[in-house]
């Protein structure tokens, strides 16, 4: 993999911002269409909401724990950004360490702590319950996810994201590990507590972990959630969809196109499902997803051994 110039560290957040805004705008457009409102109004809604949040006062609550609260809020986008460091764009990434996949997973899971801290901090019951909901679900999300990541790494014989991309020159991993791909995408949405896994910030809790957030805190937390979602979805491209591989177009453009397709389809799909009941998903995750993804890992390992 080629050496990466330093300005990529500035370039990456800019690209992420564009992608995140695109995803939010698409979601808002779908919402406007479903409500029968005008498409232009839907597209501009995120901009108006951002401006509104920027001028809204921050809320304070009684007996709050401001340190954990603010740290939890800020940690969501920070975790997403640190995870994004290993995302390759056309054969280059800001960093491509030998343990890229483990790094990605480790940074992403910081969001787990972050949501709990953001829920605990302000001190009311609803936001605390929201934080606990995410913690309770975390293992059901994370274990199948780890095995999906391990499957891709096993097939490539490398924990380096660039190595996984190179290993797919003969064929995309999604073809011979579709189950791992599906599990990866499900858990990517779940780890970003996006619908239909939005119980931690659910309406039945008046906003859950985000209930007491207003102003810039709310912008950072919910915006960070979108970035986390985009980053988690974007890693599926180098892991399972061949990275920048594709005809005619240059690799970086293929990466962007594939990422956009994955992100927009997940946003579209999310609106087709109601919020998943947590107890049902936990059972489904432990009883169905985990064995199935383990079988996938076994199959891939055997294939790697006999090849």
């Amino acid at each position: 993999m080629a050496d990466t110039p330093l300005w990529w560290a500035v370039f990456l957040p800019a690209v992420l911002r564009v992608f995140t805004f695109g995803a939010v705008a698409f979601d808002s457009l779908l919402a406007a269409r479903a409500a029968g409102a005008s498409a232009v109004g839907g597209l501009s809604a995120p901009l108006r909401e951002t401006a509104r949040l920027l001028v809204t006062q921050r809320r304070t609550t009684r007996s709050a724990d401001p340190v954990l609260w603010r740290a939890g809020v800020a940690l969501v986008p920070l975790a997403a950004l640190s995870a994004a460091l290993v995302l390759p764009l056309g054969g280059r990434a800001v960093a491509d360490p030998a343990v890229g996949i483990v790094w990605f997973n480790a940074m992403e899971i910081l969001a787990w702590a972050a949501v709990w801290m953001a829920g605990w901090g302000p001190n009311p019951a609803f936001s605390l319950v929201g934080g606990y909901r995410f913690v309770a679900q975390g293992l059901a999300y994370e274990l199948p996810r780890m095995f999906a990541l391990i499957t891709a790494a096993t097939a490539a014989g490398s924990l380096r994201v660039g190595g996984v991309v190179e290993a797919q020159s003969g064929g995309w991993f999604v073809v011979w590990m579709p189950v791992a791909f599906a599990v990866y995408l499900i858990s990517a949405v779940a780890m970003a507590f996006r619908p239909p896994f939005d119980a931690p910030v659910g309406r039945d809790l008046a906003g859950g972990a985000a209930a007491e957030l207003s102003g810039v805190d709310r912008l950072v937390f919910l915006g960070g959630r979108w970035v986390l979602f985009v980053v988690a979805a974007a890693l599926s491209v180098p892991l399972f969809l061949g990275g920048g591989a594709g005809p005619v177009l240059p690799p970086w453009l293929w990466t962007l196109v594939k990422t956009a397709v994955v992100v927009l389809s997940l946003v579209w799909l999310a609106r087709r499902f109601p919020t998943v009941r947590m107890d049902r998903f936990a059972e489904f995750s432990w009883v169905v997803l985990l064995p199935v993804v383990l079988a996938q890992a076994l199959l891939v390992s055997v294939l790697v051994l006999v090849r």
């Binding site: 954990l68 030998a98 483990v102 480790a106 899971i109 702590a113 975390g138 293992l139 107890d279 059972e283």
Partner: protein, 199 residues
């Protein structure tokens, strides 16, 4: 640069470890401990052991978030929500622990360190693994399996309900769980008999 980072992480790890015993909220204490672990992980990374460092971050975040739940739940005062201290007999506890730290740290500084021979290996993680595990690898693998089997066996033996309580005598009914969402193994007290009477 690396030396500076090494020192910064080291000092921060000690400071946040000390904060565990100075803060008065269980939630803050938990995350101070997590911060201490994370700085140790960065220290490990700066030794060139990237894999171990990243795994430390991963495992410690997961572990401490789960620990936060349990530590707050089992705190002596209600739900761990009120101000608390991590230790009793403050003066003696503090002097003993600080004293132990000083003695150990002094040992590090006073001992004669051997001269370095050779160069660090290309893959320090692999070399460390071979050095630590080496001949014991089969033992450790067996141990891991035995431990895991023990956990499963303990849970299976200690649970009151089995699959017949769950799915009925023909194993064909829809699962009847006192608390939905698990896989039917967790139940306490009378809950088993209550739901058992459904069919």
């Amino acid at each position: 640069m690396e030396t500076v980072l090494c020192w910064v992480f080291g000092v921060l790890a000690v400071v946040s470890g000390f904060l565990v015993f100075r803060l008065d909220s269980m939630a803050r204490v938990t995350f101070a401990l997590l911060a201490s672990f994370l700085f140790v992980a960065f220290e490990v990374m700066s030794l060139g052991l990237n894999y171990l460092g990243a795994v430390l971050v991963l495992m410690m975040v997961m572990e401490m978030v789960i620990m936060a739940v349990f530590m707050i739940m089992y705190m002596m005062n209600p739900a761990g929500l009120m101000p608390m201290a991590m230790y009793h007999n403050k003066a003696a506890a503090m002097s003993i622990s600080v004293g132990t730290f000083v003695v150990l740290a002094a040992g590090v500084l006073l001992v004669d360190w051997p001269e370095r021979v050779g160069r660090p290996p290309a893959d320090p993680t692999g070399a460390l693994g071979r050095e630590l595990m080496g001949a014991q690898m089969p033992t450790m693998m067996t141990l891991g399996l035995v431990l895991f089997a023990t956990i499963l066996a303990t849970v299976t033996l200690s649970t009151r309900r089995g699959r017949y309580d769950r799915f009925g005598s023909g194993l064909r009914d829809r699962p009847a769980d006192p608390v939905p969402g698990g896989i039917g193994t967790a139940s306490t007290g009378a809950a088993g008999t209550e739901t058992g009477g459904r069919r």
